[in-house]
């Protein structure tokens, strides 16, 4: 097995599905000859030709509309939005069109589209590049929203997303692209959408996180273990739909939960997780469920980014409030 970074695992998944299904098309800004600004599509145009992997003119709304149309022709489009901060330009195609194609045609048409897009803080991008906007799409019925936290998961989840017959928003945290490697099988495999992973088992507290916050939560759990707290960490992997059974089973076991998101308090998906826990497991709770989040400002100018982003220390502090309630 090869040791791959997340970006390599993503390329691997795209290659796998381009090979498996001739209807898969990869397109977007700079994804062809240049291999994408992060090299996610490196070598794919050469391998599969300009028919299958191609550059588009510069227009996010155009890329979204093209995906709708190509779906009607029976293709399985995998467009890239260069940075998810540019998603506002393509919101009509995503929420107004793709999300409701099956619904408004009474089930006759569907949109097997996977929109890939980098996002996430900590890499000092200019404005409108790093925002955590998963809440924006997670709130739209008709869409699935996937956020991998590791190379292994990225490959399996992306293959599942591409094979899914409904639109999937696949968000790739930029900080995770090259931050670590792990073993990724060369052969194809899938990880089901809507299924969380228990990254670490514990009995005193459940930390629920996704994206780059999974690593921070794992660090926090190790810190807390030094103080003899046994902490379970759940990686949501899919933030819409949520894996309610995994979350509830864990909270019923531990009786305490903290939900972590990189997004602002008023954005993201943590509020939804807390509400589900309260509705389904309130009698198991020993303490209120608290959240760790970024402040309710616009994503900061890069100079203030590090302080603004939640980290393992914030998670430990909030966890202690819950543990000592």
């Amino acid at each position: 097995m090869a040791q791959l970074t997340m970006i390599q695992a993503i390329t691997d998944a795209l290659r796998t599905e381009l090979k498996n299904d001739e209807n898969v098309l990869v397109f977007g800004e700079d994804v062809g000859n240049n291999g994408g600004v992060f090299r996610a599509t490196e070598g794919l145009q050469k391998e599969f030709g300009e028919d299958r992997v191609f550059d588009t003119p510069l227009a996010e709304s155009g890329i979204g509309g093209l995906a709708v149309g190509l779906s009607l022709e029976g293709f399985r489009p995998v467009p890239e939005i260069q940075f998810f901060g540019f998603v506002y330009e393509v919101m009509d195609s995503i929420s107004g069109q793709l999300a409701r194609m099956r619904f408004r045609s009474g089930g006759v048409y569907n949109a097997p589209v996977t929109i890939r897009s980098p996002f996430g803080g900590g890499v000092h991008t200019p404005e409108m590049h790093a925002d955590s906007l998963e809440g924006l799409v997670a709130s739209q019925p008709g869409l699935k929203v996937v956020i991998p936290s590791s190379p292994y998961d990225a490959k399996g989840l992306l293959i599942s997303a591409i094979r899914d017959n409904d639109p999937v928003i696949f968000l790739e945290h930029m900080k995770l692209y090259r931050s670590f490697r792990e073993e990724v099988p060369e052969e194809e495999y899938t990880i089901p959408l809507g299924k969380a992973a228990v990254k670490r088992e514990g009995t005193d507290l459940t930390i629920i996180a996704y994206g780059a916050m999974v690593q921070e939560s794992m660090k926090a759990a190790e810190e807390l273990e030094k103080e003899n707290y046994s902490v379970e960490v759940i990686d949501l992997r899919t933030v819409q739909p949520l894996d309610i059974p995994t979350i509830i089973a864990s909270v019923e076991k531990t009786g305490r939960a903290v939900v972590v998101q990189e997004a602002q308090k008023q954005a993201g998906v943590a509020a939804n997780v807390v509400a589900e826990i309260n509705e389904r497991a309130i009698l198991s709770l020993e303490a209120p469920v608290l959240r760790v989040f970024a402040p309710d400002t616009v994503f900061p100018f890069s100079q203030a980014e590090t302080v603004w982003l939640p980290n393992s220390k914030d998670i430990v502090a909030t966890a202690k409030k819950v543990l000592t309630f």
Binding site: E29, D30, N34, V37, D55, F86, E89, V298, A304
Partner: protein, 373 residues
């Protein structure tokens, strides 16, 4: 397919006829010779020298910015070398009260419009003080979303029109930006309202890696203006005099109530798209680079001015030294600017004369405590 009336052009012939009309407007050729005497703006000696000074200064600013970026002393930076004529000669035709809506590569224009250099560096470093435009400087912070400034420029121009101002709104994007919906909406709105706007597309041949020919089937970007009913012109963007004249004329029409103009400037970006990892060798050849370098705006303008006895090495060195000195001073100011705090960001979220929303207020107290440690 032939048209019914033999005299009437069919659709294919109509397109060809329009495209043939778009010849590149040039006044000063690559050798520094005036090739279009009738169009010569006859700038005064002082004006010619000032325009040259700005181009040399800006080239140095670009070189220093790249090296500061490499040393980790600057943040986000989009190189400008090769685009000096396009950027600065168009700006040279503007008045102080004209409003500029720049893209993120158009920092030189807003500096010459009055933005202090230190603020340009703070913008690059991701400090909002960089975007706190002084009251008498008529510019909007550089736009990050490609093309968004085009429709906004239509708004500024409409506002000027309603206020009865004799000013214009000027906006810039690139060849890639001309594919965005905002581009078409912007030129169309301004055209429909006959607003005083100037839309400048700096066609530097590549949108990051995507070459101009993949961007559109149109032979020129300038001709896109025809569809919106705009006077439109294709200009040699490496020729400062041609860019100046095209912008001057567009401005004159705009303030006379004759509506907006679309200008396409043919130019080149010598450097990478930005300093964040773009590698131009992946998408263009050194042959193409050197072909364009032969057209360099500074080289031809220098030749032209030297022949007129208006420029020499000594003058050039003076400008270079001045630029270096001022850049050094501006960096000092940027260094001395207090580091941006999260509470600062919270304070600029909503009207400071209203009560902060409860969530933000709670977080404000928390961060204030964190920041005091």
């Amino acid at each position: 397919m032939a048209a019914k009336n033999a005299k009437q052009l069919g659709p294919v012939e109509t397109l060809q006829a329009i495209e043939e009309k778009f010849e590149m407007f040039q006044i000063l050729n690559e050798e520094g010779e005036i090739v279009n005497k009738d169009a010569d703006p006859n700038l005064t000696d002082e004006e010619l020298v000032e325009l040259m000074r700005r181009m040399v200064y800006t080239r140095i600013l670009d070189q220093r910015s790249i090296s500061l970026n490499r040393q980790g002393r600057l943040g986000f930076y989009a190189p400008t070398a090769g685009q000096e004529a396009s950027q600065l000669a168009s700006h040279f035709a503007l008045e102080k009260e004209d409003f500029i809506l720049p893209g993120y590569r158009d920092v030189p224009q807003i500096i010459w419009h009055g933005l202090p250099l230190a603020q340009a560096f703070l913008f690059s470093r991701g400090h909002f003080a960089g975007n706190q435009i002084p009251e008498n400087v008529k510019v909007f912070p550089p736009q990050i979303i490609i093309g968004a400034q085009f429709i906004q420029a239509a708004g500024v121009a409409l506002g000027m029109q309603k206020r009865g101002k004799k000013t214009v709104a000027v906006t810039y994007t690139g060849d890639g930006g001309s594919s965005q919906g905002d581009f078409y909406e912007g030129i169309n709105f301004a055209g429909a309202f006959r607003s005083p706007a100037i839309f400048i597309v700096q066609n530097n041949q590549y949108a990051i890696s995507t070459p101009r020919e993949l961007q559109t089937a149109a032979k020129t970007i300038a001709q896109k203006g025809i569809a919106a009913g705009l006077p439109s012109i294709l200009v040699d963007g490496m020729d400062p005099l041609a860019v100046y004249v095209a912008t001057r004329d567009a401005r004159e029409r705009a303030v006379n109530g004759e509506g907006p103009t679309l200008i396409e400037t043919l130019c080149y970006r010598y450097g990478p798209h930005t300093m964040a990892g773009d590698d131009p060798t992946r998408y263009r050849t050194s042959e193409t680079d050197s072909e364009w370098e032969k057209k360099d705006p500074l080289v031809r303008f220098r030749t032209y001015l030297e022949a007129k006895g208006l420029w020499n090495e000594e003058k050039e060195n003076e400008v270079i030294e001045q630029a270096k000195e001022e850049i050094k001073e501006a960096i000092k100011i940027a260094d001395a600017t207090p580091k941006q705090k999260v509470t600062d960001l919270m304070e600029i979220m909503y009207d400071p004369n209203t009560e902060m929303p409860y969530n933000l207020k709670e977080q404000y107290e928390l961060y204030k405590e964190k920041e005091s440690k």
